[in-house]
């Protein structure tokens, strides 16, 4: 087999951000699948029983327990701690702008919880079609994918 020179190798496998993005997308998918394991199991029971059991449990887990939003918080927290423990030095202004997403998500969740406790709104704000859920899920996916990809790049720069 023909052996490639380092230049040819680098031309064949150029360093692209897309590769890091794909890696972090896989991380997000894996974490989501594992984080929502109880929900998948109950959904599996729902499917094999042809809708006879577990219908109310699925609604309960999503609306009352806000499982999806808990998983979003968990994933954001994981990325945030990875970033902090990696010992990356950031300017205060950059760190503030980077961590504005987890702060905003926490603020929305706290506000919703307080409004539910005060009975100003009901639990429907946690269902899959509500504004709160859509905004939090979209922000979480964007934040985790891009921040984790940046973290992979930084780690590769250090390790190589």
């Amino acid at each position: 087999m023909e052996q490639l020179t380092p230049t040819e190798q680098s031309q064949e496998n150029p360093i692209r951000f897309r590769n890091y993005l794909m890696k972090s997308v896989k991380w997000v998918i894996g974490n989501t699948l594992f984080g929502l394991l109880p929900l998948w199991f109950i959904y599996f029971l729902f499917v094999i029983s042809r809708g006879k059991v577990a219908s109310s449990e699925i609604d309960h887990i999503i609306e009352h327990d806000a499982a999806i939003l808990f998983v979003c918080c968990g994933m954001m927290g994981a990325v945030l701690w990875d970033f902090m423990l990696a010992g990356i030095k950031l300017k205060m202004s950059v760190a503030f702008r980077l961590f504005i997403v987890p702060g905003f998500v926490a603020m929305v969740l706290f506000t919703d919880q307080v409004l539910i406790l005060l009975k100003a709104i009901d639990n429907t704000c946690f269902n899959l079609r509500s504004y709160t859920t859509i905004i939090i899920v979209v922000l979480t996916i964007s934040f985790t994918i891009f921040t984790k990809a940046n973290l992979y790049v930084i780690e590769d720069t250090r390790n190589e």
């Binding site: 230049t7 950059v94 997403v101 905003f104 905004i135 922000l139 934040f143 190589e160």
Partner: protein, 51 residues
């Protein structure tokens, strides 16, 4: 009505937050990729010199 206003406020703030994050993330990505490519180039030139 109040819930609609709340949803609008949350949506607008969400878009603002996402935009700020997008700008910072893009800048960070450019800087980190530049550093990684520089590092890779330095490593390769070092290996070539050694050979």
């Amino acid at each position: 009505m109040n819930k609609d206003i709340y949803n609008i406020i949350v949506s607008v703030l969400g878009v603002i937050v996402a935009t700020i994050f997008g700008i910072v993330s893009k800048k960070m990505m450019d800087t980190n990729m530049h550093k990684l490519r520089e590092h890779e180039a330095a490593k390769k030139s070092h290996a070539t010199q050694r050979d």
